[in-house]
Symmetry: C2
Subunit: 214 residues, 2 copies
C-alpha cells in the first residue's frame, strides 16, 4: 500500500472534499494541518512539498498531487483506491457529475476565497455582500441543474459522488455567511442527509480545528 499524506486546512472547502474522499474510500493516510491564517502555505517547509503553495496537497509515495478535483479523479482512477467510486460508470452521468462539481469548484468557490475577499475590501460587511452574491448565484445554478435530475439522497444517486464532495462544503460556507438555504431546497436536503453519513460526518471542519494557542 502506498504511503499517503494529506496536507489540509480545517476550514478550507477544497480540503474537506479530499478528507471526505479519503474517509469514504477508507484510505489509510497521515494528515498534516497547514494553517492558512498564519500563511504556513507560503513557508519553506510547505513550499518544499508543494511549490505551487496551495492546499490541499496529497503526497503519494513522493508524488505530489494538488487541486482537489485532480486528487479525487486520481483516487478514482488508481486501482487500489478506486472503490467505492466517486464517479458513476455511464459517460453522460460522469459528465453531469463533473459539470456539477465545476459549478462549485470553478463557478463559485474561487470568488469566495480568502485572497479574493481581502482584495475586495477590508470591511467584513462588504466582503459578506460579495460572497453572498456569488454563493447565491452558484447554488442557484446547482439547484437548476438538479431540477433536471430525479430526486436522490445525493445529487445524482443515493451514494455520494465528486459533485456532493463539492456541494456540501459549499453549503456549509453558505450557512456561515447566512445565505438563506430555503431558496435551494434540494441542495439543503442533500446537505442535511450528507451530514448523517459517517464518511461526511468524520470529515467536517470542526473535527480538525487546531486548539487555540495560549
Amino acid at each position: 500500500m502506498a504511503e499517503i499524506t494529506l496536507y489540509h486546512y480545517w476550514r478550507s472547502s477544497a480540503s474537506w472534499r479530499v478528507r471526505w474522499a479519503l474517509e469514504y474510500k477508507k484510505i489509510p493516510h497521515v494528515k498534516i494541518h497547514v494553517n492558512l491564517l498564519a500563511a504556513e502555505e507560503k513557508s519553506p517547509d510547505f513550499l518544499a512539498v508543494n511549490p505551487a503553495g496551495y492546499l490541499p496537497a496529497l503526497v503519494v509515495d513522493g508524488h505530489v498531487l494538488a487541486e482537489s478535483l485532480a486528487i479525487i479523479e486520481w483516487l478514482d482512477e488508481n486501482e487500489s483506491t478506486s472503490s467505492p467510486a466517486l464517479l458513476p460508470k455511464d459517460t453522460f452521468m460522469r459528465a453531469k457529475v463533473r459539470q456539477l462539481a465545476e459549478t462549485i469548484n470553478s463557478g463559485t468557490q474561487p470568488l469566495q476565497n480568502l485572497d479574493v475577499m481581502k482584495r475586495i475590501s477590508s470591511d467584513t460587511e462588504v466582503q459578506g455582500q460579495w460572497v453572498t452574491h456569488w454563493i447565491t448565484r452558484g447554488l442557484g445554478v446547482y439547484e437548476k441543474i438538479l431540477s433536471s435530475l430525479p430526486v436522490k439522497k445525493f445529487s445524482v444517486s443515493d451514494e455520494p459522488t465528486m459533485a456532493d464532495l463539492c456541494l456540501i462544503p459549499q453549503v456549509y460556507s453558505a450557512n456561515r455567511f447566512k445565505v438563506d438555504m430555503n431558496q435551494f431546497p434540494r441542495c439543503k436536503a442533500i446537505y442535511e442527509y450528507a451530514l448523517t453519513t459517517p464518511a461526511c460526518a468524520q470529515s467536517v471542519p470542526e473535527l480538525f480545528q487546531p486548539a487555540p494557542t495560549k
Copy 2:
C-alpha cells in the same frame, strides 16, 4: 456517428478550449454562436438548450454537456471521440494535467469573467488592474508547476493536452490585458508554438467573430 452541436461565444476562453478539442479530434459538428454581449445566453432559445444559462454547451444526440473540462473529459472517455487523447495514460501524469488545467479553470479564469469584472467596477482601468493581478498570479503558479517538468513543446508533452487547451486562451487573454508574458517564458513559448499547430490555429477567437451589425 452522433449528431453534435457546439454552442459557443467567439471570445470566451472556455469556448475556445472546446473548439480546439473538437478540431484536434476532428469531430464533425455544427457551431452555433451565442452572443454574450447581447445576453443571448439568457434568451429563452438558449435556456431551452442549457437551463444553467452558460457557455460552452455541447449537445450530443440530445444530451446537454456543459462546463468545458467536463466536456473535454467526456470527449476523451467516449470511445468514438477518444483519439487522439487529451489526457495522458499514466495516472500521475493525468493528475498533473488536471492540476494545470484547474490552475487556469478554477484558479484564474473565474476572476476575470465578464460578470465579475462588472461587479468590481464600471471603470475599465480598475477592471484592468483587477484582471492583471489575478492573471499574473495564475500564470505564475502555472509557470512554477512547469518548472518541475521537462521542457516539451506543450505543457507536459509534444502534443497538446487538456492543460494546454486551458493555458493558450488564458495567455491570449493576458496579452489582451497587456500582462508582460516575459515573466512566464515557458508559458509564452508554448503559446507561440501552439498557434503554429493547425487545430489550435483553426480555433482562435478571430475566426469566429461575428460581422458587425449595421
